[in-house]
Amino acid sequence: MSILINKSTRLLVQGITGHEGLFHTQQMYSYAPGTVVGGVTPGKGGEWVLNGKLPVFDCVRVAVESTGANTSVIFVPAKVAADAIFEAADSGISLIICITEGVPVSDMMRVQTYLSGLNVRLIGPNCPGLLTPGEAKAGIIPGSIAMAGNVGVVSRSGTLTYEVMYALKKSGLGCSTCVGIGGDPVNGTSFLDILEMFESDPHTDQVALIGEIGGNDEERAAEFISTRMTKPVVSFIAGQTAPPGKRMGHAGAIIEGSSGSAMEKIRKLEASGVRVARHPEEIPGLLKR
């Protein structure tokens, strides 16, 4: 089993006819054909993609009415990403996964404030999305690198997450769900939100948390782990060698003063009983077989 997505997920792709959108729709569809129900590209309603397998709609409202979609994956350009999120939220989608990178912070602030009054969950932006091995894939995480199991994986990065999942698979460990929450300074879902879900998911027995420098999401996660989490958590924090004040690619990975540094995060996590790996390949060894 899993959190957020499973084999009954009904997935819509916003930006389905774009280069990235179409490629990843194909990937998601081949991974779990029953979970992908269609897509949206304004002006292309009525067309079909994947050799007539999936319908394209002009807007999310009509797509939801026609397909019963409950989840949306967004691949639209950064300039229109906020609009795509508003549209999904206003059209009855309850889980929105925004893959798009480079969304202005001010747009995300407005989105967050708007969504806080609705019963809608946003994952991302600038994230690889979700994978529940063997059941569903909503995003760009390669399906082949993970197998089903009892480890919940949550991470702020992309390829580093894949690296950990791949290391787990090589060691014979599987994942319940893998969640990429994204590397932006303002994202829809935090480590803490996901830890809460893993804690109450009967099929997750342990969690791997992959963090990085910047912000205080890891620190808040540490507090939750020490006070409310019963399942064991292991972790890796990237950016221990990053010079202060430098942007390391992720907009979120900026060290602000002493808070947000890798050392500080590791200290807090260890104090909460989390075993922190020195490098990503150490993670499988810290988990229970």
Binding site: A78, S106, P142, T241, M248
Partner: protein, 380 residues
């Protein structure tokens, strides 16, 4: 994108925030005339994007127009913390009654903008933030309705501003919110916001940082970007969609993905090496991008070896390997190299590289150990 003081203050003025009379110049002789125009005495301020300008000697007080020119000459010939002073701002000298701190930035945890104010404004505000956080008043802003009048009154009362100043203060705060929104800023800071002895507010210093992701909405502001603060290699990298940051070590890195790139520089250090750079090639596997990455890494004379670490998720590793080989044929690197490819079609990719006599590695740890040894002149 960081803006200079003069750029920030000029934006403030456009949005109705009062600033001192003055002008930015790049040749010293103009300072004399400006000082005369603003009343003889002037403040000469180096326009360099570093913190602690005043303490580093970048802000000088001139008692006469002649001294203004002399000081401008000195400052324009200086470097501050390694950056050349290309421009100075010559501002009128004002008589100060009170110094206030006023800023708007984004609160990541609350996911909203936040206005911060303090009656303990001035150079030591960062110290105050640590020693006396209670002296800094914070107010979250709902971005859908903006900063409201009642919030501004609340702040004015909170920092114990004289009632006679509330109206003026409110205008400054609301205009600061306007400029913050209009430019997609992540920071708009006035420190100090002074009350002159005549009872007028003036933004004596200003600092703005704009969101790089939102610059597509502000082509006019992109043009005023100061490239001095970035290393030429970083600017070059941006052209190819690469993120490059120079570090002080000897081992160059080329990695896909920011998180993995950080983990790679970390593991080099863990194995006793020092990373020469951080480089994220993103989702790119094209030969052009890999070749550009090679050139950028290798133009750093400290580099004694290069570690390439690619996780092929959707990207196929055999394609990456071909890209690397073509790029190497073009750039012809002379330092040792270790390549690690993991994921889809990794075996095929590694075989291509091995056939070309390249050193490969299976695990991240193995890769780091090999490149650290090779870079020291050892055998892998």
């Amino acid at each position: 994108m960081k803006l200079h003081e003069y750029q920030s203050k000029s934006l403030f003025a456009n949005y109705g925030i009062p600033i001192p009379r003055g002008r930015v110049i790049s040749t010293a002789h103009e300072a004399k005339q400006i000082a005369e125009d603003v009343g003889g005495r002037a403040v000469i301020k180096a326009q360099v994007l570093v913190g602690g300008r005043g303490k580093a000697g970048g802000i000088r007080l001139a008692k006469s127009p002649k001294e203004a020119e002399e000081l401008a000459t000195i400052l324009l010939g200086m470097e501050l913390k390694g950056l050349p002073v290309r421009r100075v701002l010559v501002d009128e000298m004002v008589n100060i009654q009170q110094e206030v701190y006023l800023a708007i930035t984004n609160d990541r945890t609350e996911r909203r903008p936040v206005l911060m104010a303090s009656s303990a404004g001035g150079v030591d505000i960062e110290e105050t933030a640590i020693q006396h956080p209670e002296l800094i008043f914070k107010m979250l802003i709902n971005p859908l309705i903006g900063l409201r009048d009642y919030q501004v009154r609340d702040i004015a009362a909170g920092i114990e501003l004289k009632r006679s100043l509330w109206r003026q203060f409110g205008e400054v705060a609301l205009n600061l919110w306007k400029v913050f929104v209009a430019t997609d800023a992540t920071l708009a800071e006035i420190n100090p916001l002074v009350v002159t002895t005549e009872g007028k507010f003036l933004a004596l210093d200003g600092k703005m940082i704009l969101d790089d992701s939102a610059l597509f909405r502000h082509p006019d502001l992109v043009e005023i970007r100061d490239l001095d603060i970035e290393a030429p290699a970083e600017i070059e990298a941006r052209k190819y969609g690469l993120t490059y940051i120079k570090l002080d070590g000897q081992i160059g890195c080329m990695v896909n993905g920011a998180g993995l790139a950080m983990a790679t520089t970390d593991i080099i250090k863990l194995n006793g090496g020092e990373p020469a750079n951080f480089l994220d090639i993103g989702g790119g596997k094209e030969t052009k991008k890999v070749a550009a990455a090679f050139r950028i890494i290798l133009q750093d004379p400290n580099v004694r070896g290069v570690l390439i670490n690619i996780f092929g998720g959707i990207t196929r590793c055999d394609e990456v390997a071909r890209g690397i080989l073509t790029a190497m044929a073009e750039v012809k690197p002379k330092v040792p190299m270790v390549v690690r490819l993991v994921g889809t079609n990794a075996e095929e990719g590694l075989k291509l590289l091995a056939d070309a006599n390249m050193t490969t590695a299976d695990t991240l740890l193995d890769a780091a150990e090999k490149i650290v040894t090779l870079a020291r002149g050892g055998q892998s």
